[in-house]
C-alpha cells in the first residue's frame, strides 16, 4: 500500500513536468493547427540558455526570464524565416518543416553546447525533499507542478477571454476562413511559436534541475506526446490531466511490471498505452471530434 501511494505521488509529480511541456505543445496546436515535432529541441534551447546565464552568475529566476526573452525573439525569427512562407500550405508540409527544424535546432545546440551532461551548479532547489507523512516529494517536482497549474490558468484565461486567443483558435480551426475575415496568420504563427518557445524554456529549465542537462533531455519532448494525445490535442486542461495520467501510469508500470518485463518498460509504457488508447478513443479525452463530410 505504501509502495502504491508513493508510486502514485511520484507519478503525479513527474506528470506535472510532462504537463508543463505538454502545455507548450497543445498551445502551438491550438494556435496554428500544427503538430510541433521540434518541441523537445525548444525545451533544450530554453534549458541551455538559462543554464548558461545561471552559470554566469545570474539568479535562477532572472536566468529563466532571460531565456523567456530569447525564446520570444527566436520564436519570431523562426516564424519570419521558416513558417511565414507556409501560410496556406497543407498541414502536413508544416509538420515536416518542424521535423526539419528539430534536426536543425538539435544540431545548433550540439554545436554550441556540446554533448556532455551539464548540471546547474550550485543546485537551485535544495536536495532536501518535503515530507508529508511517509510521502517524500522532491522540491523540483513540486515547483514544476505549481508552475504547470499556474500556466494552465493563464492559458485558459488567454484563450477564453482575449481577442488574440480567440483569433488564434480560429486560425487553428480553419486557416483560410480566419485569413478571409482578417485574422493575421503571420501574427498568430509568431505568437504561437514565441509562446511555445517560452513555455518550453520554463519546462526545460525545471527539467535541467532534476538530472542535469544533456541532449537526451530533448527526447522528453517526445515522451510528452502520449500525454497530449490522451488529453486531446487541443485541450489545455487535457494536457495537464493527460500529463498526470501518463506520469502515474509510467510509474505504476515501472513499479509493478518491471519484474515481469525487465528493461525499459517504463520508457515504453506511455507509447504502448497510447497506441491502444487511440483504438478506442481516437480523439483523446477532450479533443475536438471532427465530423467529416464529402
Amino acid at each position: 500500500m505504501e509502495l502504491f501511494l508513493m508510486t502514485i505521488t511520484t507519478g503525479v509529480m513527474v506528470g506535472g513536468i510532462y504537463a508543463l511541456i505538454a502545455l507548450g505543445w497543445v498551445l502551438i496546436y491550438k494556435c496554428s493547427g500544427v503538430l510541433n515535432l521540434a518541441m523537445g529541441e525548444l525545451t533544450l534551447i530554453g534549458a541551455y540558455v538559462s543554464l548558461s546565464f545561471y552559470e554566469a552568475g545570474v539568479p535562477f529566476v532572472l536566468a529563466v526570464g532571460i531565456s523567456l526573452i530569447i525564446g520570444l525573439i527566436l520564436g519570431i525569427l523562426t516564424e519570419r524565416i521558416f513558417l511565414d512562407k507556409l501560410i496556406g500550405e497543407p498541414v502536413l508540409t508544416v509538420i515536416m518543416v518542424t521535423v526539419g527544424l528539430s534536426f536543425f535546432f538539435r544540431a545548433v545546440v550540439e554545436i554550441i553546447w556540446g554533448t556532455d551532461t551539464r548540471v546547474f551548479t550550485p543546485a537551485v532547489f535544495s536536495m532536501e525533499p518535503i515530507r508529508i507523512g511517509f510521502l517524500v516529494i522532491g522540491r523540483v517536482y513540486l515547483w514544476s507542478f505549481v508552475v504547470a497549474l499556474l500556466l494552465l490558468v493563464v492559458f485558459v484565461g488567454f484563450f477564453k477571454y482575449t481577442k488574440w486567443g480567440l483569433a488564434m483558435q480560429a486560425t487553428a480551426d480553419d486557416e483560410m476562413a480566419a485569413l478571409s475575415i482578417g485574422v493575421s496568420a503571420r501574427f498568430v504563427y509568431a505568437a504561437a511559436w514565441s509562446i511555445a518557445f517560452m513555455a518550453a524554456g520554463v519546462g526545460g529549465s525545471l527539467l535541467g534541475n532534476i538530472n542535469g542537462l544533456n541532449i537526451s533531455v530533448g527526447y522528453l519532448g517526445l515522451l510528452v506526446l502520449p500525454a497530449v494525445v490522451l488529453g486531446g490535442l487541443n485541450s489545455v486542461p487535457g494536457a495537464i490531466v493527460g500529463g498526470i495520467i501518463i506520469g502515474v501510469l509510467q510509474n505504476l508500470c515501472g513499479a509493478y511490471l518491471d519484474q515481469y518485463f525487465p528493461g525499459g518498460v517504463k520508457e515504453i509504457a506511455p507509447f504502448a498505452f497510447m497506441a491502444v488508447f487511440l483504438l478506442f478513443k481516437p480523439f483523446g479525452l477532450w479533443g475536438w471530434e471532427r465530423i467529416e463530410r464529402v
Binding site: M96, F103, M274, A275, V294
Partner: protein, 376 residues
C-alpha cells in the same frame, strides 16, 4: 499510367502501347542505356574512379550501396505517405524487424545441409524477413482504421519506440547471449554460389533488389489496388462511399510497405554483417521521410532521386570535411552535427521553395523537351 506528355506526333494505337512501361523508342533506348551503365559501365569504371581524390570517394560502391538501401527503405515510406496518405514516422522499426528476422534465421535456424551448400539460406531468409516485417507493419497499421493524420503519426512513432527501443533492444538482441550486437560470421551470407564479401557483389545484389521492388511496386500502383490507394489518399471518406474497403486497402498498404522495408533490412545485413538496435533509430525514420519529401512525394522515382541526392550530398560533405580537417579541425569533431543541421535545413528549404520535390523538376524538364518546339 502515363503522366508524361508524349512528343509531338506520337500517338498510341492500341491498349498495349498505352499500358507499356516505356512508351516510346527513345524512352526504351534511354532506359537500356541506364541499365547498361549501372550494370556494366559503372562496375567496370569504379576502381578507376575510386582512385580520384574527392570525387572518387563520392562515386564508389560503398556510397551506391547506401543509396540503394535508402531507396529500398524510402519506397515503403513513399507508398504509405505519397500514395496512400498514411503518414508514418516509424518505418525504421519495420526495417529493423526485417534485419533481425533475417539475421536470426541465418544464425539460429537449423537449415538442412543442402540448402546451406546451395546458398539458399540467405535468399529464403530475406523473403521470410519481408513477410514478417509486413505482418508487424500491419499490426501497427491497425489504428489507421480509426485514426488518421496527427494521431496516426503518433501511433507509428509508438511502433518505432516499442519495436526498436523495447522489444529489439531488451529481448531480441539478447538471444544467444551475444549482448547487444549480432555479428554474422564470414561465409554465412551467401546467395547461390556467390559469397557476399565484396563491394561489387553487394552492389549487383542491391541493383537487382531495387529493380525488383520498384517494378513490383509500380505494377501494384497501376492496378486496382494502386487506384484504391490513391483514392484513399485524396479523400478517404469519398473513397469509402465509392465502395472501396478502406480498412482492407490501408492495411494492405502497410503490409506492402513493411514488406519492402523488410527487404531493405535483410539487404542491409549483407552489407554490415553485424547489426545492433542502434542502426535503426528514430532518426532513420525521419531521414526516410525527408528523402521522399526532397525527392517528391507521390512518385516512385521521387524516392530514388531523394535517396541519390541525400546519399551524394552527405558523401560530398564528408569528403569536404576530410579535406578541410587541417584548416578547421573543429569541423571534423562536430561533423555529425553539421550533417544533421544541414539535413534539417535541406528539408525545410525543399518544403518551402520546392514543395513538389526533385521528381517534379525532372518531370518539367522532360516535358519541355517532349513538347518542344511547342512547349506551351
Amino acid at each position: 499510367m502515363s503522366t508524361t506528355f508524349l512528343p509531338c506526333g506520337t500517338y498510341h494505337e492500341n491498349y498495349s502501347q498505352d499500358h507499356a512501361w516505356w512508351q516510346t523508342g527513345f524512352v526504351k533506348g534511354k532506359m537500356i542505356l541506364l541499365f547498361l551503365f549501372l550494370f556494366v559501365v559503372f562496375p567496370f569504371l569504379e576502381p578507376y574512379i575510386a582512385e580520384v581524390e574527392f570525387i572518387g570517394g563520392v562515386f564508389s560502391f560503398a556510397v551506391f550501396i547506401v543509396i540503394g538501401y535508402y531507396v529500398l527503405g524510402a519506397l515503403g515510406v513513399q507508398l504509405l505517405i505519397g500514395y496512400c496518405g498514411q503518414v508514418t514516422l516509424g518505418h525504421a522499426a519495420f526495417i529493423a524487424v526485417g534485419a533481425y528476422t533475417s539475421t536470426l534465421l541465418i544464425l539460429q535456424f537449423p537449415w538442412p545441409q543442402f540448402m546451406l551448400d546451395w546458398g539458399l539460406a540467405y535468399p529464403v531468409s530475406i523473403f521470410v524477413a519481408a513477410v514478417t516485417a509486413g505482418m508487424w507493419s500491419v499490426l501497427f497499421g491497425l489504428p489507421s482504421a480509426k485514426v488518421k493524420g496527427f494521431y496516426l503519426i503518433l501511433t507509428t512513432m509508438a511502433a518505432q519506440f516499442i519495436t526498436v527501443d523495447f522489444i529489439l533492444t531488451q529481448y531480441v538482441s539478447q538471444i544467444g547471449g551475444r549482448g547487444q550486437a549480432f555479428s554474422l560470421p564470414p561465409g554465412t551470407i551467401k546467395i547461390g554460389p556467390w559469397l557476399m564479401d565484396s563491394g561489387i557483389k553487394i552492389y549487383y545484389f542491391m541493383l537487382v533488389l531495387v529493380i525488383l521492388c520498384c517494378a513490383g511496386l509500380l505494377n501494384l500502383l497501376r492496378s486496382k489496388v494502386g487506384r484504391a490507394w490513391v483514392a484513399i489518399r485524396d479523400n478517404d471518406i469519398a473513397a469509402e462511399t465509392m465502395g472501396i474497403n478502406i480498412v482492407k486497402y490501408k492495411l494492405f498498404a502497410f503490409f506492402v510497405a513493411g514488406f519492402i522495408g523488410g527487404v531493405a533490412g535483410a539487404f542491409w545485413v549483407s552489407n554490415l554483417a553485424a547489426i545492433s538496435p542502434e542502426h535503426f533509430p528514430w532518426f532513420l525514420s525521419l531521414w526516410l521521410v525527408g528523402i521522399i519529401l526532397i525527392g517528391g512525394a507521390g512518385s516512385v522515382h521521387g524516392a530514388i532521386y531523394g535517396a541519390i541526392f541525400m546519399g551524394i550530398l552527405i558523401e560530398i560533405l564528408n569528403q569536404f570535411i576530410m579535406i578541410t580537417a587541417d584548416v578547421f579541425p573543429a569541423l571534423l569533431m562536430r561533423s555529425m552535427f553539421v550533417k544533421d543541421g544541414l539535413f534539417g535545413l535541406a528539408i525545410c528549404g525543399f518544403l518551402i521553395y520546392e514543395p513538389n520535390g526533385l521528381a517534379y523538376r525532372w518531370w518539367q524538364a522532360k516535358n519541355y523537351f517532349n513538347l518542344w518546339p511547342f512547349s506551351y
